[in-house]
C-alpha cells in the first residue's frame, strides 16, 4: 500500500513537471510584441536573446524526457539510469532558468554602468509573458528537485534508513 502511494506520487509529480516545462516553452514561444517608437518599429521576440533560446530548448528537452519517463514500467532495470538522467535534467533546468533570469533582469532594469537601457518600458506585454514563462520554469525546477529524491528512493531500497 505504501509502495502504491509512492509510485502514484512519483507519477503525479512527473506529470506536473511535464506540464510546467511545456507551459514554460509555450509561454516563451508565443511572446512576441511589436511596439512603434516614433517612426521606428521594434519587434521583440524571444529569439533575439540567446539565453531565451537556450531556455526554450532546455525546457523542451525536459518536457519530452518527462513524458517518456511517465511510461517506464515499475520493475524496469532502467530506473538506475533514470536517477542519473534526473540529475542531468535538473542541472539543465537550473542553468537555463538562471541564465534566462539573469538576462531578463538586464532587460528589465538595464545596466547603468554599461550604458544599457531597459527595454521593458517599451514592450510591457512581452516582459509579462517572459516573466510567466520563467515562473513556470521555476515550478518545473522545484518539482524536479523532489523527483530526484523520489527516484533515488525508488532505486535505493526503502530500508536504507534502517540502521543495521
Amino acid at each position: 500500500m505504501v509502495k502504491l502511494t509512492q509510485r502514484l506520487g512519483g507519477l503525479v509529480l512527473r506529470f506536473a513537471a511535464f506540464c510546467a516545462a511545456l507551459g514554460a516553452v509555450i509561454a516563451m514561444i508565443t511572446s512576441r510584441e511589436r511596439s512603434s517608437f516614433f517612426v521606428l518599429s521594434l519587434v521583440a521576440k524571444y529569439s533575439d536573446l540567446a539565453a531565451f533560446k537556450y531556455f526554450v530548448i532546455a525546457n523542451a528537452i525536459v518536457s519530452v524526457y518527462s513524458f517518456l519517463v511517465l511510461f517506464l514500467p515499475k520493475e524496469s532495470l532502467l530506473w538506475k539510469f533514470v536517477v542519473v538522467l534526473d540529475l542531468i535534467v535538473t542541472m539543465l533546468l537550473t542553468s537555463s532558468l538562471s541564465a534566462a533570469v539573469a538576462v531578463a533582469q538586464v532587460g528589465k532594469r538595464g545596466n547603468a554602468n554599461a550604458g544599457w537601457l531597459p527595454i521593458c518600458g517599451q514592450v510591457p506585454r512581452f516582459c509579462d509573458q517572459i516573466t510567466g514563462a520563467l515562473i513556470a520554469g521555476l515550478v518545473a525546477l522545484v518539482l524536479y528537485v523532489f523527483l530526484l529524491i523520489v527516484s533515488i528512493h525508488h532505486v535505493v531500497d526503502p530500508f536504507l534508513l534502517r540502521k543495521s
Binding site: L42, A44, D48, L49, A50, A51, Y54, K80, V83, V84, L87, I88, T90, M91, T94, S95, S96, L97, S98, A99, V101, A102, V103, Q105, V106, G107, N111, N113, A114, G115, W116, L117, I119, L148, I149, I152, V155, V156, D157, F159, L160, L161, R162, K163, S164
Partner: protein
Amino acid sequence: MAGGKTVLAGGNTKSWKLLLGLRIFAFMATLAAAIVMALNKETKTLVVATIGTVPIKATLTAKFQHTPAFVFFVIANVMASFHNLLMIALQIFSPKLEHKGLHVLSIAILDMLNATLVSAAANAAVFVAELGKNGNKHAKWNKVCDRFATYCDHGAGALIAAFAGVILMILVSGVSISRLLFNSNKFSTTKAPATATDVP
C-alpha cells in the same frame, strides 16, 4: 562476522581515493573561479564626447559588482568551494563514520545540490558575458569588451574555471550516488558478505 556493520569507506578503498581526488580538484576549480572573478576590476580613462575641439574624458571602471549575475557567480562558487572543503575535511578526519545510511544519503544530496548551484551560476554568468562581448542590436545594447579587454579576459578565465568545476562536481555527485547505491545494496542483503568490502 556477526552483525551487518561493514565499514563502507575504509581509508583505502578505490572509491574513497577517487572521491577525495575529485573533490580536491573541484575545490581548487571553484575557488579559482571565485577569486579570479572577485578580483576582476579595470579602470580606464575614455573620451566620452568632443565639444568643439576639446575632448571630454571620463574615468570609467568595470567591476564585477556592476552585474548581478557575476555577484551570484562569486557567491555560488564560494559556497560550493566551502562545501567541498567541508567534505574533504570530513573524509580525511573521520573515515570510519560513513557506514550509516542517512549520512551517505545526505552527502549525496548535498553534492547534487551544489553541482546544480555551480552549474546555474556558471551559465548565468556566461550568458551575461556573451551579451557584454557581442552586444545585442535588437535591444540596442553596446558591447563592452572592445574597451575593457583585460576585464573580459579575466572574466573568461574565471568562467572556464567554473565550467571545469561544474564537470568535476558532476563527477563527484556521480561517485557519491554510486557509493549510496552500493551502501544500500550491502544493507538490503540479509547475510553479511564474507569477503572484504571494496567498491566495484
